[in-house]
Amino acid sequence: MNKIKRIISLAVLIVFISSLNVFAVTEDEVAKMREAIPAKPVVKPAKARKMLMFDLCIGFKHSSIPYWAQAIDIMGEKTGAFSVEHSTDMTVFSDENLKQYDVICFNNTTSLDPTPSQREAILNFIRSGKGIVGIHAAADNFNNWEEGKRLMGNIFTGHPWTSGGTWAFKITEPDHPLTKSFEGKDFKLNDEIYRTDPPYYDRTRQRVLVSLDLSDPATKNAGGVKPSDIDTGITWIKRVGKGRLFYCSLGHQHHVTWNKPILEHYLAGIQYAIGDLKVDDSIPVVESARSAEAIELLNMVKQYDWDKNQEPLHKMTLFVRDCLNNPIDAKMVETKLLEVLNSDVNIAVKDYICRQLAVVGSEVSVPLLAGMLSAPETSDIARYALERINSGDVDVVLFEALKNTENDKIKSGVIASLGVRKYTDAIAEIKKYLNSDNENLAVSAVYALSVIGNEAAADALLEAQPKVAKERVFDALLACGQKIAHTGDVEKASKIYSKVYRLSKDDTIRKGAFIGLIKTDKANSSAMIKGAIEGDDVAMQKAAIQTLSQVEDKSLLLTIAGSLKSFSDDAKVLIMAALAENSSRVGEVQVLEFIKNKSQAVRIAAYDALAKIGTVKSVSSLAAAGAEIRDRKEKDAALEALFSMPGKAVDNEILKLIISEDNAGKEMVVIELINAAVARQVEGLSDVLFTATQSSSRRVVVAAVKSLMTTAGAEDVTAMVELLADKPSTNTENALTVLADRLDDKAELIAKIAARYKSLNNAQAKSSFLKVMGRLGGDEIAVILKAEYASSDAALKEAAFRAMTEWPGADFIANMKSLAVSGKDEKTRILALRGYLKMIREHGGKDRGKKIIDTFKMAEREEEKRMVIGAMGDFASKDVFEFLINNMNNSNFKAEAEISIVNVAKVLAGRCPEVVLHTMQQIIDSNAGDNVKKGAREVIDKINKMGAFIVDWKISKAYSDNGMKCKELFNRAFAPERNEGSWKQAIVSDDGKIDMDQAEAGDSLVAYLKTVIISSVDQEVTLSMGSDDGMKVWLNDEIVHANNVERGLTRGSDKAKVKLKKGRNELFVKITQNSGGWAFCLEIQQADGKRAQNIEVDSE
């Protein structure tokens, strides 16, 4: 202790003691103490004894502390057994200072947390032959110190017996000198009593003299008492090394300090701890209730050998683990295991016993195991136990074995074990083996020292003169460096790295040392990195760059980034790549300077780095670069960075810059910002785009409007309508149309656009509105179109007419038909005809085939006829097919007819393959044109390939139910089973497979297929099917097949014989999806497996 500390602690001590005397204990109370304390020592001290009484509280502070300080002072003074010095300063716990004392008394101290060296000093003190005394709360310290808790023999976990009650105590050892004052009489006392729980309260390690008496009803029924509290110790003693501990739980209440028998009890305890009073402190054997069980199990274990069933071992293992719950059982089982180990059993049994001793063994096992270390056949198994036994004795016997055995193999195992146990006293001995020419020994020594890994181990390694495995020594030094750096001593670590770096010739080792140096020698790290990157040592170059990409030291990264200028271009590129890789994301400002560098490689590297480390600060520079740069590669790098830079702040900055005044004149910059914002899917972009549509730059307006096409949503309907009114253009029209397609419900848009139209007075806007309205449909708009068509304004009338030709509904079908015949000019008639054809295709109903044939008949001009024939390709019905065949040789529209025939035939092939096949064959045999013949052959191929498959299906959307699995979904009826839901034409591959993903891709789903089979006769056919996963099939509303499975698709895996009635037969299929593939196929077969005859399919 230095002088200043001594003075301070003395000052504290004086204040403390005076506070005790002045403020706490009254003169009356002191008088009672003097009266109660014995006049003579229990035994005359061998010499003058000195007690260090420690009174510090970190946690709860007992008010009885000054009472005990006073009482013990008086006790020492009155009996002459010892003198007392007080302290509340943790630094008194040093080897040097403690030398002067014979005993330490912890006076109700709480939550003490000594440093490692203070812990050592306390342990050294008692082990060397001195004493420790604990009063009451002395068992409420050392929570973070395992050996400390064991030392005191208990740790506070609660006190069911509170200071408000009076509790019963029994003298466990009435004949023991330390309990003499109680005269063998059990007693009752008002005090607070701590619970004593294993493992720290351990009757195999301490001798209990006084206990709580739970046969007393009040004591037994105190609140919170649990069964295991039956053994609650009050006073115990134990030997620790050559020293002694005395602890007594009594002393919470003040009156205990003038209780005569208890004070005498304490005096005897203190004199025992000091070493003047010799008493029996051996640990009495407590019989375990489970020894019979242990013997029985071990008798079975003894029969074991390598080739026997291990069942008895497994049973014993569980028993051993169970015994750990009770120290007495644990001690018993350890003893029994040792008996077996010491008997004549085979090596397999010994091996097993040693593994159990690794779990339950204590210092008791050490001597027997030590004896096994020197025999080659038992050395390893003894080490398995020794390595895990928590006792300092182990280190000693291992060390002895190392010195005494001649067997190299045993030596190498023992060396490794000393390392695993981190026994630092063995370092000097292990060091000798570093220079051994036996590789196994040398490597074991290296291994042990690298596991110990402290400064002493590193020094030993550094001094080695290895003959073999030289690089392993360096490698171990690097491992020590890591460990030492981890403990905080970077300076020492750095010295180790530096030596290894200089001495090793191996690149891998040098690289490791270099990286270690950078991490530990901060002052030189940037210079080292610079040197390595610019140097010509490739290994170090790699190491430097890799380190830079991983190092967590931000200031180092910034230093390197700040000196980028001084590096070569190649190095600049590497460093910037490393900065980009480093997760610290620093160096943006420094890197930003290099986007103007004269080397393009450097510029691109800067952009690539900014993509990762850039923030708001880089946005405008990157946008400017992206706008200005001509070179594609570099431009892409800049724009990629603008797109990739992480963070919402970047999003917001981009939005801000799009509409910033500063960018008003820079249209290309604004456009790149808009593009980036669209790609980044920035939230709130639409609002900014609407603002941008007011830009004075036409190109910006166009970019903004085009972007709105992707970004605008339902919430933007009003603004979009206004935009169309304000800036009518093809782009705006398209943007609004695309938005309309995205809307689930168009009603609001239709109402708004109709209302807004009424207040328009700009002709161009009106024309734009009409164009959009024509694509939207809706009753309100139909009224407007009719009205405007009747208008006297020629331009309006024309716009309304054009809108009507595109109308999605059937409202104007009659108008179109009549205008197609009687329109005022050819242009009008053609437009009307086109509109009419579209309308009958979409709304023509079942007889639309007839309608288009009629249209052909009313067409006058060749141009019109050609248009009708061309349109027929989309009208897949038998009458149209027949009409086209009959008219295919008319030279005026031969080309159109041929294309249409093939298109119709392709669709009909799936519905009525027999008819189509026949017709196609006729075409091939005729003098038809080459194109139609080629088409006909393709259709025939298709039909042949199709075989018996049904390929004309309607498919539903996919359905799922909250968390429901595939097999459950099979039995859950969704909308289509109730004749609801929407349908679309299914896409069927050439091999008849329907990929159900077209409904929706995903897991745990269901979708449906339906079609109609028209049979010209009553007949029986076979449905041959395959499904991935399960399927359920209905024919005319009856289930004809069901298979709830999870599997892949196999064609024809399932078959169902069904009866088709003459006429329409409705086929309805449900397919479930677990995960992965999802598909279905169905063939309709007659008895020989070929396609059933006399049927047509029509999913319409």
Partner: protein, 446 residues
């Protein structure tokens, strides 16, 4: 343009930008180093397979099937001669020559061959000794999960890999599968709100009990002593009769049920589903602070791993993880995160959520984008070239298996354990701390 395409584009661009950097190739075979650090124009990556059983040849074939001309298998190593011979045959067939060399002792191979990287697939007790030997040679590694058989071995491996700046990829390939990635990414971006509880379902350890012992001399062509390596001695043992049946192949697969070599299904699969659970929680580089659980162990035959297990881990941020047999959990196998707003469950069967809408949500550029890999083996080779961290690096793999190993110790001691994830020691439990390292036979160290 979909989100996925955008990211993919960035990914490719980034990868090529780094590897194409400035005429300083990152791959330099050590054979051409030497005089003044001159660099050979060769960009060949040499690789060897150590452990040529089912998993080993599987990995080897995955590497061969990358059809990467720069990647060259030059040797194989196995203690079973026929395994090594079969592996050589596959490699020679692929390359159309007969130059692949065979070894029975990996140490000899590491001495003689000039290797850039190694792929190893070995019984768990072998992971640390082989990995450390490779690390000392500066060799990058693709290694199987579980990362190590004990926590101290795992830490030593991580330290050596860091010390030598090596690339390590763990065979936790689920990370490179889209739906696992997506599940973890949704969770880490708060799509189910704050997560306070996770369930991890692992396979039932069906091998409990196990067959009778068949003891017989090790067949010729199988180096039993080397197979044991650092593990405690036991005479040649015919696990499940397989040594005989396939003509001396070795104790394939069934070593999995013996504690000297493995922790059973629990530690095997910890490297998969706990790994994924950590990924979604952003806890992949730390560990729990408290572990408590129960296990049931095999009671007959030669097996002694736990076949039933159920343990809870608490993390410093309050998250609790329950790891148990799949059969005991609502969602079975996989990781299931429970958040304030719902749950997400991911397994090999797919990705599910309390509300399917959660799964359709996008992760924007400003959010946490988890590392994306499309092919686990290719990701390793890419990283060997670019020196970037892989998708399943050592520290992450170590922390994943640590949870399984901590559970194992908690079950064996039957105590509630307090763990310090920074120092990697139990707080105040010397008995448990002694179990952080396995005991080695003399002559073996790491």
């Amino acid at each position: 343009m979909s989100e996925k395409k955008l990211n993919r584009r960035s990914f490719i661009k980034k990868a090529s930008a780094v590897s194409a950097v400035a005429g300083l190739p990152f791959i330099i075979p050590s054979s051409v180093l030497g005089k003044d650090g001159a660099v050979s124009p060769s960009n060949r990556i040499t690789i060897a397979q150590i452990g040529c059983g089912g998993m080993g040849t599987g990995n080897m074939n995955s590497f061969l099937n990358l059809n990467n001309n720069a990647l060259q298998f030059i040797s194989v190593c196995d203690v079973a001669k026929n395994h090594a011979a079969n592996a050589k045959k596959s490699i020679d067939n692929k390359y159309g020559n007969s130059s692949c060399r065979i070894y029975g002792d990996f140490r000899e191979m590491l001495e003689k061959e000039d290797l850039n990287c190694v792929s190893h697939a070995l019984p768990d007790h072998w992971h640390a000794p082989v990995a450390l030997a490779c690390a000392r040679k500066g060799i990058d590694m693709y290694g199987e999960k579980p990362f190590a058989r004990s926590i101290k071995e795992g830490r030593a491996m991580c330290n050596a890999i860091t010390q030598n700046n090596l690339i390590w990829q763990t065979g936790s390939w689920q990370r490179s599968v889209a739906h696992f990635h997506k599940g973890a990414e949704l969770v880490i971006n708060g799509r189910i709100g704050k997560v306070e509880y996770v369930e991890v379902g692992l396979p039932n350890g069906d091998a409990g009990g196990g067959p009778q012992v068949c003891l017989e001399p090790a067949p010729s062509g199988f180096d039993w002593d080397m197979w044991l390596g650092p593990a405690p001695y036991r005479p040649a043992q015919n696990f499940n009769g397989k040594l005989r049946k396939d003509g001396g192949n070795g104790p394939h697969w069934d070593w999995r049920w013996i504690l000297d070599y493995s922790g059973g299904q629990m530690t095997d699969w910890a490297g998969h589903h706990i790994d994924i659970a950590h990924w979604g929680l952003g806890l992949e580089r730390t560990g729990p602070v408290e572990i408590e659980g129960k296990g049931k162990y095999a009671t007959g035959g030669i097996y002694d791993v736990p076949f039933a297990y159920d343990f809870n881990c608490k993390y410093a941020n309050g998250v609790t993880m329950r790891v148990a047999n799949a059969a005991a959990l609502t969602h079975g196998m996989g990781a299931c995160w429970y958040g304030e707003k719902g749950w997400i469950h991911v397994s090999r069967g797919g990705l599910n959520a309390s509300d399917p809408k959660i799964l359709k949500e996008k992760i924007g550029p400003g959010e946490t984008l988890l590392y994306k890999s499309y092919n686990h083996h290719e990701n390793f080779i890419d990283c060997v070239k670019t020196r970037k961290e892989t998708i399943a690096p050592s520290e992450v793999a170590h922390r994943s298996i640590s949870v399984g190993l901590l559970g194992e110790i908690a079950m064996q001691t039957g105590r509630k354990l307090k763990w310090d994830p920074a120092k990697e020691v139990f707080v105040g439990d010397a008995g448990a701390n002694s179990m952080l390292m396995r005991q080695y036979r003399s002559g073996w160290g790491i």
